[in-house]
């Protein structure tokens, strides 16, 4: 009765111009005020502190090397991701095995495990005495750039797989079939027809993996050893200078953040502009060679290699932390943990902070992100505005999150009354919002305008169209968008470290434990990571369960 009245009222409102446009405008204003402008203004207010670093050549050198390391690793890792991720996506979408569904789910695990836990897990696997190193007598891979590269591969690989599986499912098979009937072997067909047509998705997956590698802080910090990339350097500088020499600390931070931001924007712009013009580099045809690559044996070995890479480099290292976690179940660590004594009281508090934060950020992303996505997808304020916001919304995605956090901190510290928790909300919102808007924009764009127009001609008001057509058709995307936002927020370490002084989130606690800033035993750490992983798995399985069979439209 009551909800019906509200519905009628909303319907009536939505057919008037003013309220409709107010909604869109509010979404735009909130985006500018909370997400885009604060970091930009934050960094500009501190612009002059940069002089500090100019007369410190060694420090400057260290900063530049760290920045270069960041980009080298990101470029390299995302290339590996695409090389390994495309065959995996192909295997998942085209294979005939009954196990594909399970593999599909497994591929998501490293993506939803909080990266700090992932970092510790990898450290154990590659370096710890009980991991794979045991086979080689001694630690196989010690902390440093190689371990960072492996780590980044592990958590960005699932991104490429996810994007490419979606693209392959949407792809019209007819093109590939036509190519086969014209005489192309399966491999040639895939290389000359399917991949070029899916180029936008290839580029998107590369950019996402690239951005993720550039941003990741918590896990990288854990496995870095003495090696520094951008985020690790910023964190080290904070520990070294924040108290002893605040002006120098600010100068170094602004300098590093600014360069990270500018270079990643430049790379992003470059890929966006030239990526779509670039005809795929290899245009030749080698029919007889590729024919050999196409048939049973070659295909089977390709699939085996793909699976070996997936299990050995991605999945098993991600879950390796389960061993000490399991061990912890059978000794006093468990009761200590659940009684919340000693270091564990911080842990439980941080868990509450993390999940409350993630919940709030998810709701906020939804509320201000949905109208924005609709505005962009349906070009409500014209083509130009839509394109502009489409680019602007993605900016926070490619800015390293620790740099984003630093700039945000500089801006909001001008408003002393803002509590730290709110600061965290803003920082996480800025980082997660683009993911939600991206996935919703894509989902709305997939709904043909005809469908909306048909509903209008049948008598639905704009709000009615939204409620009865757009929402039901995008349910799956909303849900998966929300899950991405949620897990991303639970994982986020870089921006968190940058903005907080007293509050702790779960990944921060894990980093502190692993780095022994707090005295924690390996069993403590194992159990702490294990609990995080179990919670994330629960989230993933819920998603799988709720959306089962709904991905059809």
């Amino acid at each position: 009765m009551n909800s019906r009245k509200i519905n009628d009222a909303l319907n009536a409102l939505s057919s008037k111009k003013a309220p409709k446009y107010t909604t869109y405008l509010a979404a735009i204003v909130l985006f500018l005020a909370l997400i885009l402008l604060p970091p930009i203004l934050g960094i500009f207010t501190k612009f002059d502190t940069m002089q500090q670093i100019l007369n410190q050549p060694t420090l400057m050198n260290r900063a530049l090397i760290a920045i270069a390391n960041s980009f080298m690793i990101a470029l390299l890792v995302s290339a590996f991701d695409v090389i390994a991720g495309v065959p995996m996506a192909w295997f998942i979408t085209r294979g005939k095995s009954r196990w594909l569904n399970i593999i599909d789910t497994l591929a998501d695990i490293p993506f939803i495990v909080p990266t700090a836990a992932l970092g510790y897990s990898l450290l154990l696997f590659w370096n710890g005495p009980e991991g794979i190193s045991a086979l080689f007598g001694g630690s196989l891979i010690s902390p440093g750039w190689l371990l960072i590269t492996l780590l980044h591969f592990t958590f960005s690989f699932p991104i490429v797989v996810r994007v490419m599986v979606g693209a392959l499912l949407d792809y019209k098979m007819e093109f590939e079939r036509a190519s086969r009937t014209l005489g192309a072997s399966p491999f040639t067909a895939a290389r000359t027809v399917t991949m070029p047509i899916l180029r936008p998705s290839l580029i998107a997956s590369y950019i996402l993996a690239f951005a993720r590698s550039l941003s990741e802080t918590g896990a990288t910090f854990i496995v870095a050893g003495l090696f520094e990339n951008g985020p690790v350097f910023l964190q080290n500088i904070k520990n070294e200078l924040a108290v002893s020499n605040p002006p120098l600390y600010e100068g170094v931070t602004v300098f590093t953040s600014l360069i990270l931001i500018v270079v990643s924007l430049a790379i992003f712009a470059f890929i966006r502009i030239f990526g779509s013009r670039l005809r795929l580099p290899i245009r030749g045809f080698w029919p007889s060679f590729e024919r050999k690559l196409s048939y049973k044996k070659a295909e089977a070995s390709r699939n085996s290699i793909t699976l070996i890479v997936f299990f050995l480099i991605v999945l098993i290292p991600s879950l390796f932390v389960a061993l000490p976690a399991f061990e912890a179940l059978f000794n006093p660590t468990l009761s200590e943990a659940f009684s919340g004594s000693g270091i564990w009281s911080d842990y439980w508090q941080s868990l509450v902070v993390s999940y409350a934060l993630a919940g709030i950020v998810t709701v906020l992303s939804f509320v201000i992100g949905l109208p924005m996505a609709l505005m962009i997808a349906r070009k409500r304020f014209g083509k130009f505005t839509a394109n502009m916001f489409d680019i602007l919304v993605n900016v926070p995605l490619i800015v390293p999150s620790i740099a984003l956090g630093v700039s945000l901190k500089f801006f909001w510290q001008n408003f002393a009354f803002i509590p730290e928790f709110l600061l965290l909300v803003f920082a996480h919102l800025a980082i997660t919002y683009p993911y939600f808007v991206r996935s919703m924009t894509a989902a709305f764009e997939r709904i043909s305008l005809d469908m909306e127009e048909a509903a209008r001609t049948l008598g639905a008001k704009p709000f009615g169209v939204f409620k009865t057509i757009m929402l039901p058709l995008t349910k799956y995307s909303i849900l998966s968008g929300a899950i991405i936002v949620f897990t991303r927020s639970v994982s986020e370490t870089g921006a968190t470290l940058a903005v907080v002084t007293t509050l702790q989130t779960a990944p921060v606690v894990i980093v502190n434990w692993v780095k022994q800033f707090v005295p924690a035993t390996p069993l403590d750490i194992g159990l702490g990571c294990g609990i995080l992983i179990v919670l994330s798995l629960a989230v993933l399985l819920t998603l799988r369960f709720v959306t089962r069979g709904k991905a059809r439209y």
Binding site: E174, R180, G183, A184, I197
Partner: protein, 366 residues
Amino acid sequence: MPDVRVVNLTKKFGDIVALDNVNLTVHDKEYFSLLGPSGCGKTTLLKLIAGLIEPDSGEIYIGDKRVDNVPPEDREIGFVFQTFALFPHMTVWENVNYGPKVKNFDEKESETIVHEVLELVKLHERLGAYPNELSGGMMQRIAVARALAAGAKILLLDEPLGQLDAKVRNEIRYEMRKMAKDLNLTAIHVTHDQSEAMSISDRIAVMKKGKIVQVGTPQELYMNPASLFVANFIGESNFLEGSVAEANNGELVIELRGGAKVHAFGKGLARDERAVVVIRPEVLTVEKPSYRGKNVLRGVVEKISFEGTFIRYVIRLESEDFVIVIKPSLTERWFDIGDSITLSFESEKAHIFAYPEAGLMEEISV
């Protein structure tokens, strides 16, 4: 050489039986059509022949060679898709040159071939255009040219004209046939448009619910439909229900609903069996009211539509059944609505079928 032969072919999608034990031979250099209502399995059969999907059981031969396990790229077929499937990231030239490239033809040779086929489809000016810059008719020609350039001996065409407007469609369909004939190709053309199939095919297979119900030349199908379904699907027919009053060595007297008696020829029907008499509209002749011959049907003109060359009358018979009569407009006298009319037909030109168990409407519905 390349006959196409399928033997006991069955294909299921889950519970749906898309093809049910189909047998068919298409001769070398024949222009052959698969005709049937939507969902009857035409595309499925074509894709099986192309090797794009795999059969559940049965055999497929091209020439003397069994090709069930041959991948599509080695079957020497050309497939023209309903949506054309031109590669959007390649120009016209690159699309047509694709087959020669992936088949490793000599560069010079493939250039000559591409020029030839583009000449053939009269699209030589737009070599550098991308598919989205072409009209539907152009895309269709490029799709055919692309299949030809790859050296296809057998052309498989899945509703190749379905996306075109009626006028272009009527022009292109004869070109398609001419091209196939000039190049000595075997063509299998899928369509649900019976006039398209009738006008260009050497032979037609009519399909219904995953089965082939009749194969024959257009004339055979029209003159001797093997079932009520074919009689209805190909051309137009009047269906009159009745029962066998006398049966004498294939010579039958049928008592129609309403009491009128007609003579016809048909085998396998015994006295008192229910039957359906099928009469093409142009077979019905108009007689004087005093006509005393065999096969008399009396009625009143209910509806008239003028169709240019022909006039179509809907007649309400005394039995309350309706029949359609078609007459040339300029050489015969016109009737008005309400005029009484006496009709007749030659017994040889009517067809008799047993009344279908499922009911007449169910049997002939598409």
